[in-house]
């Protein structure tokens, strides 16, 4: 077993574009669930809309990189509105079911061959990052050291992602500590009480859905920026990975999602290297290395169940704030 390469893979996950994209998605979901209490089980749909929003506006409409980002955000906002109008009045469990369906609809529409010129259908889309790369300030070469070595393009995606993440965190931090955040906190606990004080509860919930949706959509765009966009990436399993990362870190906090995303991906990378190596070394019985690699997803599922039962508030969360018992 090559311990060295297992460690390298694990270390890389600590600081990679995928991790950052995940952190953004988890942050968006934190707004939805942690702060407003909306059971959004379609976060993968928001990520898909954000990702394809960027890719399609570049490839089909020839947008420059900054316009493509704006288009991605607009697409996510629109998706939030379309999803929100019929569903925000629904009871929690019904909202959950509808959001799963909505995400699947998005994925299937992207998979369909009807718009294959625009969406690429099952082959997905590639080569939409050229304009983005053209503004890369770093000349070509290798940067960093040890397991954290990047090409100029990789470094650029990484730093840009970090910048967007930092801006998002600052904005959300401010939001949460403002009177707007106070209204949201009240809504999570009891909508009628807040209504009786003259606040338009529906408008606030919609605003939160849009803000969280835009953040998650940007996460989707960052997710596909280094490589290619493909409907397969945005299956329901992605939603549950984001949930696991969120709950692991702490759903009702701003830093919890970041922590959870990092731990999640580091774990994924670790198990993804360790388990096949163990299988090859014959330590996992008759399991082939491919099967062993898939085993990590089983372990993720178990982890999610354990967190929800044992510590639903996550690592940095406050137990009083987050309980799964709702009226």
């Amino acid at each position: 077993m090559d311990i060295g390469s297992i460690l390298v893979n694990t270390a890389q996950a600590l600081f990679s574009p995928v991790t950052i994209a995940f952190a953004m998605a988890a942050l968006g979901l934190a707004i939805h669930f942690g702060f407003v209490g909306l059971l959004n089980f379609g976060i993968a749909g928001f990520m898909a809309v954000g990702a394809y929003g960027y890719a399609i506006s570049t490839l089909t409409f020839g947008f420059p990189w900054w316009a493509a980002f704006l288009a991605s955000m607009a697409a996510s906002a629109l998706f939030a509105v379309i999803l929100g109008i019929p569903t925000l009045q629904l009871r929690g469990d019904y909202l959950a079911i509808v959001t799963i369906a909505a995400a699947e609809i998005v994925r299937l529409l992207l998979l369909s061959t009807t718009w294959i010129e625009t969406t690429g259908s099952a082959d997905g889309l590639v080569a939409y990052a050229n304009d983005f790369r053209s503004i890369n300030p770093f000349p070509s070469g290798v940067y960093g050291f040890g397991p954290w070595s990047y090409t100029a393009n990789q470094l650029w995606v990484l730093l840009f992602g970090l910048l967007i993440l930092a801006v998002a965190v600052v904005l959300l931090w401010r939001l949460v500590r403002s009177p707007w955040g106070r209204v949201i906190k009240g809504i999570r606990e009891d909508e009628d009480a807040v209504r009786a004080l003259g606040k338009n509860v529906f408008a606030y919930k919609m605003q939160a859905l849009i803000v969280g949706g835009i953040v998650a959509g940007l996460g989707g765009a960052l997710y596909v920026l280094p490589s290619s966009a493909n409907p397969m990436l945005f299956a329901t399993s992605l939603t549950f990975f984001v949930w696991t990362a969120l709950l692991l870190g702490g759903a009702a906090t701003v830093f919890g999602p970041l922590l959870g995303a990092v731990i999640f991906w580091v774990l994924q990378a670790f198990l993804g290297s360790l388990l096949p190596a163990m299988a090859d070394a014959g330590l996992l019985g008759a399991l082939s290395s491919a099967q062993a690699g898939a085993l990590r997803f089983v372990l993720v599922g178990i982890l999610l169940v354990v967190i929800v039962i044992v510590r639903p508030q996550g690592i940095v969360g406050d137990k009083r704030e987050l309980t799964f018992v709702r009226k």
Partner: protein, 299 residues
């Protein structure tokens, strides 16, 4: 037979509120709320069926009646928390049909709930600040620039602390509302409602679950509301309390108004006694059950 500590204020009752005889649906000299033909059915059950009712401005009106009479449903209908099947009603002349609950609250008609809705995960002070209207900081875009709302927030906090002091909740201001006792939460809900600067305060069973000693302080706060020019409409079961502070009483039973009038008159009304008060209202149950025999014929 009275206790040792009377209320600090003797309530100044308002009189001359009605026009003509005190019958159900009687017109008021200066009504703040007028409702016509309001009805609401749940399945086959008639919850509310009110021909006409007017709530007098600047007075304290009590809404009494047995459980299931429709009092809370009427509250919900008048404040936009429920939609009636038929009916029109207006608040200070403004038509309220179809107006959503939050808009009704913004117009100055604030209500509390039977099961207190003090937001437990917020602190007492945060609960209070939430009550203030027209906060710039509550707008999504303005909230991320603290300099746009810091000053207003400080003003709101000052007002909140003032009210908390009056309600004797000041030293609890940084505690989570969930850690307050039931009675304290009722006080908080009332204090918070005052932050909205209402004209009409509708209290749904404000004394429920509050021990009698705290009841007195709550009563005084309700009297204060009247002194400050607000109109109060409250639902209660405690007849002593009703008799003590209400200027006007409306009695509901089975969805209809069966009597209206000043407290003393209404409580003598036969229909009201049958449906609601019971004939033992002022009698010691120990006597009724034969457990004690009173020596001097005292009550």
């Amino acid at each position: 037979m009275s206790g040792s500590k009377p209320l600090k204020k003797t309530p100044q009752k308002s009189t001359g509120l009605h026009v003509g005889d005190a019958v159900p649906g009687v017109k008021k000299v200066d009504p703040i709320l007028v409702a016509d033909h309001v009805s609401r059915k749940f399945g086959g059950l008639v919850a509310v069926d009110v021909e006409h009712v007017e709530i007098p401005r600047g007075a304290i009106t009590a809404l009494i009646g047995p459980n299931g009479a429709g009092k809370t449903t009427l509250f919900n209908l008048l404040t936009g928390f429920d939609k009636p099947d038929t009916g029109t009603w207006s608040f200070s002349g403004k038509d309220l049909a179809g107006v959503p609950a939050h808009t009704v609250a913004k117009m100055g008609q604030v209500r509390t709930f039977q099961l207190t809705k003090a937001l437990g995960l917020l602190t007492v002070l945060e609960n209070m600040k939430l009550g203030a209207k027209d906060q710039a900081g509550e707008s999504l875009f303005q909230s991320i620039f603290p300099f746009l709302w810091k000053k207003q927030e400080a003003e709101i906090e000052e007002r909140a602390l003032e009210i908390l002091e009056r309600f004797k909740l000041l030293k609890l201001k940084d505690d989570f509302a969930a850690s307050l006792s039931g009675g304290q939460r009722k006080l908080l809900e009332m204090a918070r409602a005052l932050m909205t600067k209402p004209t009409l305060v509708m209290l749904d069973e404000p004394m429920a679950g509050v021990n009698p000693a705290l009841t007195e302080s709550l009563l005084e706060h309700i009297l204060d509301l009247k002194t400050e020019g607000m109109t109060v409409l409250f639902v209660e079961h405690d007849m002593h309390m009703v008799r003590h502070i209400a200027d006007w009483v409306i009695v509901m039973a089975e969805g209809r108004i069966i009597a209206e009038g000043p407290p003393d008159e209404v409580m003598k009304d036969e229909a009201v006694v049958d449906a609601y008060l019971g004939s033992h209202q002022d009698v010691d149950l120990g006597v009724v059950t034969g457990r004690i025999t009173l020596p001097k014929g005292e009550k």
